[in-house]
Symmetry: C2
Subunit: 179 residues, 2 copies
């Protein structure tokens, strides 16, 4: 997720998948010519191709530049859900959405429930993030994986990711055994 050493880190994630018998697909696998004019379109097409090929997604929903998950990751989780793929996700921040909005600024009680400084309502369901993301994962009986304790490194800790890999492997092998 936008790490300066994303290629190396993606390699570590794929190695972890391999230890559970899974083949990880990681966006930067795509060899993109970063000097080309249409580099963002090439990355987009590569990502869509990988999503179409994949049987499952493990989305990193750690809050990114705000109280919610990265919008690109949220899009990708939605895309995979729309295609009926197995959806798993984790966040290395175990806090509740409304508490993060509170931390970022004023939250008060308006006529329609909690509102922020702009007067926009704040989802207050005790969930970790927007209900569409959280409940999508619930559908697969593998709720959002969160750390019991805050990890020392929000971006590099792979404990929650590994729990998702294990859960994905269990589900995918069970499906294969059935078919």
């Amino acid at each position: 997720m936008f790490l300066p050493d994303a290629v190396d880190f993606g390699q570590r994630k794929m190695e972890m998948c391999a230890r559970y018998g899974l083949t990880g697909l990681y966006p930067l696998d795509n060899k993109i010519d970063l000097a080309a004019d249409d580099v963002s379109l090439s990355i987009f097409k590569g990502n869509v191709g990988m999503m179409n090929e994949a049987v499952a997604v493990i989305a990193n929903l750690t809050p990114f530049r705000g109280p919610s998950a990265d919008a690109g990751t949220a899009f990708e989780l939605g895309y995979m859900a729309g295609r009926g793929k197995l959806c798993l996700g984790y966040s290395n921040d175990g806090s509740i959405y409304v508490d993060r909005v509170r931390r970022a600024g004023e939250v008060r009680t308006g006529n329609a429930g909690l509102v922020d400084a702009q007067g926009l309502t704040v989802e207050d369901f005790g969930l970790s993030d927007n209900l569409m993301l959280v409940h999508t994962l619930d559908l697969y009986k593998c709720p959002l994986v969160k750390p019991r304790l805050p990890p020392l490194d929000l971006w590099y800790d792979l404990t929650a990711f590994e729990a998702c890999v294990r859960a994905a492997a269990e589900r995918l092998y069970r499906t294969r055994a059935k078919s």
Copy 2:
């Protein structure tokens, strides 16, 4: 989008759709019992049902509590793209993503391009938001609709929304005429 008067505003949006011969589906159409224990799950199921029923989405990608679009809306755009539906979107903020990240804090040039104060890379493609969102709309030959001038009201201005409704109507009538 999390407006305190979302029901009334949704009504206005649906009326605008009707003027172009389209039937708008708006999440709060779903009559949800807000006192129930599983209210967030009911909203989720209602939204998914509406997305499955709809033939197109018009996503409000105006930056929300940070430099990017609302994660729930991004998820829904992804879901609709995953199902091969017509995807349109608008933002009432015409600025470029990297400029919004700059406005929110430090952005410097690292070894892997621009990075923020946490050392995470900043997408720098001259796009309005994450490339997955923006290029999804480009696929449908209706790029993200943005205001030429900042609207007086970021949340209630419907000019860009109306442009999307018109584009959706044109495309959907063309499809019907062909079939």
